[in-house]
Every structure is written in C-alpha cells, then in structure tokens.
C-alpha cells in the first residue's frame, strides 16, 4: 500500500488552428489529425516506495501541478501510465466544494461525500474534525460568516480527517496563521511517521528539507534531477536565477557533497575562506570566536553594480544567517572589467557546535534573482566546536545571564 509508479508519463494539450478545425477533426470519417500537441510533461519516470516522502520542485510552469493532477486522477495522461496503490488523498485546492450558504457541519458532510466517504463514516470523524479546526460554535453557522482562516482550517481538517496511504500536497503547508501552520505541518509529519507516503510540491525549502528524503526537480516538463534534497534544492535555487547564457555546474565538492555553481560569470569569486583573528585560514572554529570571511572577486565585465552576499547554512541546508553588501549599505557601483575586489566580513561565530557551509553569491541589487553573476553553494565548509563554553544545544549561541531567586 502507498506506492506510486510513474512510467514514461507524458501530457499534451491539443492545440487547434481554429475552433473549426476541431469540428472538422471530429466529423471527419478518417483519422486525420488537425491539432498540434502542446507538451506539458514528457517522459516522466519515477517511483515512490511506501512510507517515503518525496518533494517536487521546479519554477512556475515546470509542470508540477499538472503532474499532481495526473497522479490524483483529475486529468488523463496522454502517454505512459501511473499506478498507485492504496487510498490517495490530495491537498490541492482546499475548500473545493464548500458552499457559503450552508453551515460548517453541512459542508463537512458535503466535502466528505465528495471525497467518497459514507455518511456514518463522516459522522464518526466529525468530532475529530471539529476539534482540529478549532472553530468552536461556528461549526453550526453558515460558512459565509467564517473568516478565510477558519474556512481553510475546516477544509484542512476535513481533507486530513482520515490517514491516507498516499498524501499529495500542493503548497498547502502554509495555511492559516502561524499557530495553525505548525499544527497542520505536525499532522502531515504524523502521517509520515505512521507510514503514509508523501508527495509534496512546495517552494518552501525548509518544509521540503524537513519532510522529504528525496526531491525531484522538474524543468520544462521533464525531470531535470532527482536525488538527495540538498543537492537538488541547490540546483533548483540556481535555476531560479537562470537568465540568458548562464551555466549551472554541479560538482562533487569537499566531503563528497554536491556543490552547485551557477551564474553569468560576469563577476567571479576567485578565492573565499574563513580566517581566524590571527589571520590563519581555519576549518574549525570555537563557539563565539572572532573570525573573518575573506573573499576575492574578479570582475570580468563592466557592470552597473555589484553586491556580494553570503548565507551560513547548517548541515541540513537551513539558513542560519545571511546578509549582503546591499543590506550593509556598501553596494559597489560601476565596477570595471579587470578590477579585483576583496571583501572582509568580521563576525563572532555565535553558533552551536555543528558543521556549517557558506553559500556565496555575486549579483546586482538585493537578491540574486535579478542578475546573478555567480552563485556558489558550499564554498566554505567549517565546523564549530565547543571547547571552552558551558554545554548547550542548538545552532545559535545565545548565552543568557541567569538570575534566580528563592523565597
């Protein structure tokens, strides 16, 4: 139970030259084809094992939603086939089939029926749905007096009232307020731990990383990369900035981790390293130690402006801290071709004991999405060790001053 097998899947929409040519094709007694196929997805192959959690990422228009719709059975594939085993539940469009004139309770029954549940089954699940949605007495009020957050909460509760064998989620992880987001996220996590197979489309890197063991990157309707989350997500991040003639390279870096480099190469990082206060290059840093991140940049073209930014990431790729010279109010204007620039960032490594990496980027304005000269993941890898501080947990070092009084 809970497997997904996708083999040679393709989806094309029919494009007709005019409305009349469709009629001509329908009425023609011969098998004449008067349409051109417009391919959305092509040659998609992957399989998901029971209990596995797989993320799907890709820029807008890559075909993610179409893929999910094909798997849930809303649309039919043009080529290939999809085999799923077990009960599939989808969080694609929350609140589908809700009717504003009916009460929350009636809507719960309605939606449940639309999902193929029996009345008795819904009645049995109702207390749990009410409790999870936390809408109190509103359950007997018509839906039109609900706030949008309450509607979403109710919709999420109904859709996840039963644990499915396969749960398909499309950007539904961020519903409601922060409190409910934690709660809904918790429920999805709970399902996964209980053995539900997860297939998640999200732009939220953190969500994908904390849930998924494997990520599939779609681009232009094809699988561009499939594998371990960090490498695929870095590739995706690089794709986000793809513009004309940018190359994306992935190479095996230190410690066997995949390093992603992308950009136009109009400016390049020629050297980057972490240095101690004594000026020695270091791979290991003590908690709270003063360090310097030194970067040498070569400018290969006349540019309007240049910003250098970096992110410190933990082992899972979560960003612990990031900034850039734009935020630090030091954007360089009109760097000339052939110029060499050195940046030195001095900071205290107020980090918890763990392994960290630094992603560095050269771009214009405040983010790499506008003009990306170079983006380099895993450009520095270093460890923080706790040799001289009181023991603590976590990735941030926030030593408190303690006052304790006993009466």
């Amino acid at each position: 139970m809970g497997t997904i097998q996708v083999s040679n899947l393709g989806k094309a929409y029919k494009q007709y030259a005019s409305r009349w040519s469709r009629l001509a094709e329908w009425l023609s007694p011969f098998d004449t084809v008067r349409h051109r196929p417009h391919w959305i997805l092509r040659e998609i192959n992957f399989s998901v094992e029971p209990g596995e959690a797989v993320g799907i990422v890709g820029i807008n228009g890559a075909g993610k939603s179409t893929l999910l719709k094909l798997i849930t059975g809303t649309t039919q594939p043009t080529t290939g086939r999809i085999a799923t085993s077990g009960r599939v539940a989808a969080l694609l469009e929350l609140g589908m089939g809700f009717h504003a004139d009916f009460t929350g309770r009636q809507n719960v029954f309605m939606t449940g029926q639309l999902l193929g549940m029996r009345m008795e089954e819904i009645a049995e699940l109702l207390p749990g749905i009410e409790a999870f949605a936390e809408i109190g007495d509103y359950i007997d009020q018509p839906l039109r007096v609900y706030s949008s957050g309450m509607q979403i909460r109710l919709a999420f509760s109904v859709a996840t009232a039963r644990r499915p064998d396969i749960l398909i989620v499309d950007e539904a992880l961020s519903v409601g307020d922060a409190y409910f987001q934690h709660k809904s996220f918790g429920r999805i996590r709970e399902f996964r731990n209980a053995g539900t197979t997860l297939l998640i489309v999200s732009h939220d890197r953190q969500a994908i990383q904390s849930l998924c063991s494997r990520v599939i990157l779609l681009d232009g309707g094809r699988v561009l990369q499939e594998g371990e989350p960090e490498a695929v997500l870095d590739h995706y991040n690089a794709l986000l900035a793809v513009r004309q003639n940018q190359a994306i390279r992935q190479q095996l870096g230190e410690e066997g981790r995949v390093q992603t480099i992308s950009g136009t190469s109009e400016a390049q990082i020629i050297a980057i390293g972490l240095y101690s206060a004594e000026g020695e290059r270091v791979k290991s840093v003590r908690v709270g130690e003063q360090v310097e991140l030194r970067v040498e940049v070569a400018v290969n073209a006349d540019l309007p402006e240049l910003v250098f930014g970096y992110q410190i990431r933990d082992r899972l790729g979560h960003v612990v801290y990031g900034t850039n010279t734009y935020y630090l109010d030091a954007t360089l204007t009109e760097p000339r071709r052939g110029e060499k620039i050195t940046f030195s960032f001095f900071f205290a490594a107020n980090l918890g004991p763990e392994s960290y990496s630094i992603s560095a980027a050269l771009h214009a304005s405040n983010s790499h999405v506008i003009a990306n000269y170079e983006w380099r993941d895993l450009s520095v890898v270093f460890n923080v060790v706790n040799t001289d501080r009181a023991a603590f947990v976590g990735t941030a070092w926030l030593p408190p001053r303690l006052e304790c009084s006993r009466d």
Binding site: T72, T75, G97, D101
Partner: protein, 265 residues
C-alpha cells in the same frame, strides 16, 4: 460499464447529498420556500387556461368537461418541464461544475445523475399537485392507466438524459451548442402538441410531428390524464429506439472525450 455503475454506486452519498442540498439552497433564503416551486408552473397554467380556454374559447375536440383543456395543458406543460429541465441542465452541467472537475477526482457521471434526480424530485412534487388538482376538478383519478406513466417516465428520462449528456459534452468544446439550445428548445416546444391538440395540425404535415419523440411522450401523459386511456404503445417503440441510440451515443462520446474535457474547461 460495470465499473461506471459501481463507481456511481460508491458515490451515492454524494449524489443524494447534492440533490438534497440543491433543493434546499434553491429556496433557503426565500420566505415562501418550496411554495415557489409550485407557484411558478401554477401561474403558467393559469395564464394559459385564461387566455386559451376563456378568452379564445378554445375547446378540446372530443373531450367533454370544462376543465379538460386545463388538464390537457397541465399534463403537457409539466411533462415538458421535466424534459427541458434535464436537457438544459444537462447541456450545462460540465461547464457549471468546471471547478470541481478540474480540481477533484470523482466519477464524472455523478453530475448528470444529480441533474436527473433533481428534475425528478421537482417533477414528483408538481405531478402530485397535478393529480390533486384533477381530483378536485373532476372528482376522480384516471385509475389503473396512471401506472402506465411509469414506463413512459423511464422512457422520457432516458431520452432526455441521452440528449442532455451529448449536448453537455459538445458544449464544453463548442460553446455554440449552449447558445443555440436556448433557441431550439423554444421552437421545439411549439413543434410539440402541448398547447394545441395534434388534430388541429393539417394532415399533410402531421407526419412531421410524429417524428418528434416528444409528441409521443407528451401524448402519453395527455391521454392518461385527460381521458384515462392507456398510451399508444406502438408509437412509444419509436421513442424507445431513439432514446437507446442517444444513450449509446452519449456514453461513447462521454468516454472518448471525458479526459480531454477537463483540459478544455
């Protein structure tokens, strides 16, 4: 076919629930509620009766009793109402539920089934009202021939739903279908002996009217309700043949284009 039926059966709760909700939602925010359901056709019948039998002094040839024409009219108008409700909702059913079809996976044939159930529910209420009216006006009911209306009703639903689904599928791809349907059904109404008896149509073109399946269906209601006679069964065979053909065609069209339909919505 079997899988289609079992899928529908699995979603019976959804179908029944939808029918109930549609019924409720139609009258939910009105003061008179379900009374509107009766008031609409009743007003139509009053208008027709007053204009035709009182003002124009139209009499139903061969029928005695002053209310014969009213009953004739009611039988025709109400039976036509069932047909036109199924077909006009059917031709629009996939477009109207585009959102549901695009976002959720469920047996698509539930939608026309819901349309039929809704129409039958409305017809049931109106028809019982009509029987009550007949009882009040003439003092007696048609008796046993009334049961003959059950097969007629089945035939009528088959015919209507076949046509409705065909138009519904076509309408997704060619919106002209929906536009032209509004015009065609007007002509069709007057091309069927509902307001007038078939006997006033010149002999020469009467055969044209007998090609129209609705002539026989409406005729069956009229003969049972007005004169208490059994329907003309042989003519119903023609209707049965047409209905069967339409249903087969509808199912083929639906199966072939159901997938593409979602892409087009």
């Amino acid at each position: 076919m079997n899988s289609l039926l079992s899928a529908l059966w699995a979603y019976r709760g959804f179908v029944l629930g939808s029918v109930g909700r549609e019924f409720q939602s139609r009258y939910r925010n009105s003061l008179l509620g379900a009374a509107w359901m009766v008031l609409n056709p009743l007003s139509m019948v009053v208008v027709y009766t007053v204009i035709f039998s009182k003002l124009m002094r139209a009499r139903l040839p061969g029928a005695n009793g002053s209310f014969a024409y009213s009953i004739y009219l009611c039988a025709g108008v109400f039976a036509w109402g069932l047909f036109s409700e199924i077909v006009s909702n059917g031709q629009n059913v996939f477009l109207a539920n585009a959102n549901l079809l695009k976002k959720l996976s469920f047996p698509r044939l539930c939608l026309p089934v819901i349309v039929v159930c809704n129409a039958l529910l409305n017809f049931g209420i109106i028809f019982s009202l009509l029987l009550l009216l007949i009882l009040l006006l003439t003092g007696h009911l048609p008796g046993l021939p009334l049961l003959a209306l059950i097969p007629v009703l089945i035939l009528q639903v088959t015919f209507s739903v076949g046509l409705g689904v065909i138009l519904g599928v076509l309408n997704v791809f060619f919106r002209d279908v929906g536009q032209s349907f509004g015009i065609i059904i007007q002509f069709w109404f007057w091309f069927t002996p509902i307001v007038y008896p078939i006997t006033i149509v010149p002999e020469k073109i009467r055969w044209l009217l007998t090609l129209n399946p609705m002539t026989h269906l409406i005729g069956a209601y009229q003969s049972v309700l007005v004169s208490g006679k059994y329907p003309d069964w042989p003519s119903c065979l023609w209707v049965a043949a047409v209905s069967l053909l339409l249903c087969v065609l509808a199912l083929r069209l639906f199966r072939r284009h159901a997938g593409e339909m979602v892409d087009e919505l």
